[in-house]
Symmetry: C2
Subunit: 337 residues, 2 copies
């Protein structure tokens, strides 16, 4: 697909901040990408209020939606009762081919349920998985599943590995991205039963399977793709967030202790800022819901304008990459579709 | 038990460094604790060589053992074939009541297998679990299981919670330590099947169960004790190690970039050192193998002298606390013994 044709549907009402973040982020995204367009979905008046000039800029279309999926809405209820929600209307645009991807910072469970209902699964994939990008010593690693599936079979883990490989080879242009299976030891005898069986399946999959990797391999960047079930992935990600927060707090406390340490902090400010930029989680915002017949990107609910732009960027990158076609072909070739 | 009576058996041959670390650490430990004694187990000549004076100091006894469990020895083989290993002789001392605890930096699987065979389980506990201490925003949190059990039932998780509670109330003198169940969300409907059932069991357990906690709660210090299966615990711990390593590397790189940043680093040195001390993993060295009829502490294999002392300290703290008696009583009271 030519990049000129790519429209991104934006659920403007989702997330903690709604149009106050999503609309300015979309406008900045358009500045960076003259080849893209956006469809802003949600309350027309709220969206217009964020277009400071009052005029609708080029490459922007507003599509009204009368309802909003709230963060506390049970997914099933959001699916059944909010058919004119900004989230659902944005997903519908992907289904109808009017947008090539959609982005939402809203309720993850509802986004998953509605996407699955509206877009359907790629044949051969039983469950959608959430894939995210993490910074590593070597660059970046893709990790899935990050919480969509808490009870997984070995077959599911294999499907996650296939989806991850197709995504990374398409988007990052790595021909045979390496796949590591998250385990408690590198030896083949280690791990729980599901993981041991998954290793067997992966060995026969034709993927570039490099074997078991351990928790510390994630941030070492040992593999391009780390595969795990959603329970483990979610715990690993949130534990990392908690640790990063604790370390940042302690460092701030130590620099704030007295006049001398505050002075040292001032002198170190350029270093600290460069460091913060390097590991800024906002630059990794935008998790992809893989396995659907359409591209759906989940932004962190608390994303700010800077952060939400990266989720939009991911949508564009994936739409551009032709990943969906590749996944369909890969599943057909494997005889699983 | 009076602290005067406490002897700690030390597997001097275990770990990456053997007697070069374990013996000096034991001597420093004795300096800090005039009430304790140690039994140094292993190659007599190697141990004597580390007692620089050539004389055996007070409160030190050397017990020769002719074999060494290597890091790569399969646990079953170590159990069957190395009956005079320093590890096994140290554990035997605990069984015979000559030592009130033992410490090893050796092969974890072998330590587990031999301890279980020699010491046996506390009645009512089906599997030993590894519990470790982590620094948090509020102080410290105990977490188990850290890798002994990769396939757990809800009943196992309940037993882990009981063991953790007894340990923390005995050692930390917290009457009703809070127990959190590691999950992917705080809501009761979340989680995999085992965790959901474990939550039900915990609610009826009489423990101070505060419900589900998430990965980021570990380092927040939300609960005194975090319970999870060994697969998840191992991944969470190793992921944390990997992240800490990556952040430290990036920070060092940023401070090393040019003359100005190196100067800023120099000015910040006292701050950085205070920060490093606060989160120094060596100060948290020493994981306890819980559920055995004896106290067994596993030190990190790569521990240095400073670090190994903390593992010895943990052995002393646990032996002093009367934790084993408490656990026996608790299991009998629950009718599970």
């Amino acid at each position: 697909m030519d990049a000129m044709d790519i429209a991104v549907a934006v659920d403007c009402m989702g997330g903690d901040h709604g149009p106050g973040v999503t609309v300015p982020a979309a406008l900045r995204f358009l500045q960076d990408h003259p080849e893209a367009s956006v469809i802003l979905v949600g309350s027309e008046s709220a969206i217009l209020a964020e277009l400071k000039s009052g005029k609708i800029p080029p490459r922007v279309r507003i599509l009204p939606a009368s309802e909003v999926v709230e963060m506390h809405d049970p997914p099933a209820a959001a699916l059944k009762n909010k058919k004119d929600s900004s989230m659902r209307v944005a997903i519908n645009l992907v289904k109808d081919g009017e947008a090539q991807a959609c982005v939402s910072a809203g309720n993850t469970g509802a986004l998953m349920a509605i996407s699955r209902f509206v877009l359907k699964m790629v044949p051969g994939i039983e469950r959608p998985a959430i894939i995210t990008i993490l910074p590593t010593l070597k660059g970046r690693t893709y990790m899935l599943d990050m919480g969509a599936n808490v009870d997984c079979s070995a077959e599911h883990l294999l499907q996650f590995a296939i989806m991850g490989s197709v995504l990374v080879s398409s988007v990052e242009k790595i021909e045979k991205p390496s796949v590591g299976l998250l385990n408690v030891g590198e030896e083949e005898i280690k791990g729980n039963e599901v993981v041991k069986r998954a290793a067997e399946l992966l060995k026969g999959s034709g993927l570039n399977f490099i074997g078991n990797v351990e928790g510390d391999d994630i941030f070492k960047g040992t593999a391009d793709i780390v595969v795990c079930d959603g329970f483990v992935g979610n715990v690993a990600l949130k534990t990392s967030e908690g640790l990063a927060h604790m370390l940042a707090t302690f460092l701030r406390e130590e620099y704030g202790k007295n006049l001398l340490t505050r002075l040292a902090g001032l002198v170190s400010l350029p270093v600290i800022n460069a460091f913060k930029h390097r590991v800024d989680p906002r630059r990794y915002n935008g998790a992809s819901l893989l396995g659907l017949k359409g591209i759906v990107i989940k932004s962190h609910g608390s994303a700010d304008v800077y952060s939400f732009q990266f989720a939009l960027q991911r949508a564009l990158d994936e739409a551009r990459s032709g990943m969906l076609n590749e996944l369909g072909k890969r599943m057909q070739a494997s005889g699983q579709a």
